[in-house]
Symmetry: C2
Subunit: 229 residues, 2 copies
């Protein structure tokens, strides 16, 4: 990608956080800091990122603005409300980045991402215009129907568990969501795949966990300690 | 299954534990107790289990015998050395249970299993003679080849991440491994599937994690605390 092309980030944190037992990504503390603040800080520190859009639930907009002021987040140009489904929130964020040639979509619940992960994502997306962080699956995965009888054990060697960041040429991702209609996808890359575009995977990090339960938060604390961050 | 039929357990803990940073399942402490001891205790307490075979690495045999004596493990009839691959260790354990009609195979690195998980496994195996604990996959899983280009995003609704306990009629599992030859499988159920027998999945537990890194151990501690166990 040309170094003059602007890169925007969409950080999606509009979920209800109902499995967090009261806390959510804006209130749950990781090393004394709200989970979302650590995410934003990493994007703020990454030189390749020009602007950040933060997508929150209606209920969290005010709290988000307070965190932005307190944290001196200079790249956060918009804090906007999300939609009913994750993909609606991504689309809402995309609309705020009309001047960006590239977008990096990231889950607000993955606070352990590194700047390196963002950089490598941008590099991986160069050839196809679409890349997603992913790690090799370590579990044995089987396919079963409603009767719970195993139909197949999948060959593990080819399986990847997808994470964010996911990096796209903005026109490719916007076009993919326009084509998608009412279909539901579990990640942005899937929308792009359905539009017939190629998606490249690149090596994510097992540490880059998604925090959805209090147990996950404890694990994240332990991982931070382990790495002395 | 008839209540007169004997049920044996094979607990497999012959791996090197090289990702544990020095510790392994026999030395790493969980709430002050070696990981393997918690596993054995759960099987000792489960009334449906008649006998237990513990499969360890050569280097750990002596330490295993010490733990058995100190813990007063009355059901542990054999502590035997494992083989090169996980499946070799399971076969070694199976040979020590000729009098059992049913066998429960369990990873020594999954200390958070409950007696209930064992009981439900035995029930689930009744119709087909083979059952495996599994949990619905929450990650988005994609298939990619060596070029890292996405070939497919798998429909998540039908995907299960397999755990242990896995429960089998002993003759079915023994026959499956006899047929397998030099093929490598990542779980015992896969061997049974390849022999043409049906395998039933039953609901495992997300808490029933496999401890392979120090981070996993920290998570297990957090999960134990959360549940007040």
């Amino acid at each position: 990608m040309h170094s003059q092309q602007k890169v925007g980030a969409v950080i999606v944190a509009a979920g209800s956080g109902e499995r967090m037992g009261g806390g959510d990504k804006l209130t749950a503390l990781l090393s004394g800091e709200p989970v979302i603040s650590r995410v934003v800080r990493t994007f703020e520190n990454c030189r390749l990122i020009s602007r950040i859009v933060l997508v929150l639930s209606e209920a969290n907009l005010e709290r988000g603005r307070q965190l932005a002021t307190a944290g001196g987040w200079s790249k956060v140009s918009d804090i906007c409300p999300g939609g009913r489904r994750r993909q609606d929130s991504v689309v809402a964020g995309l609309k705020r980045l009309p001047d960006c040639a590239w977008v990096v979509v990231h889950d607000g619940a993955r606070p352990l991402l590194s700047e390196d992960l963002i950089r490598r994502g941008l590099r991986a997306a160069e050839a196809t215009g679409a890349a997603a962080a992913a790690v090799p699956v370590t579990d044995t995965i089987k396919v079963a129907g409603d009767d719970m009888l195993v139909r197949e054990t999948l060959p593990r060697r080819e399986l990847w568990a997808v994470q964010t960041p996911q990096v796209f040429r903005r026109d490719i991702l916007t076009g993919a969501y326009n084509n998608l209609g009412d279909d539901v996808v579990t990640d942005d890359a899937a929308a792009v795949e359905r539009s017939g575009q190629r998606v490249k995977l690149y090596m994510g990090a097992y540490d880059n966990i998604k925090i959805t339960t209090p147990g996950d938060l404890a694990l994240a604390e332990a991982l931070l300690k382990e790495h002395g961050r």
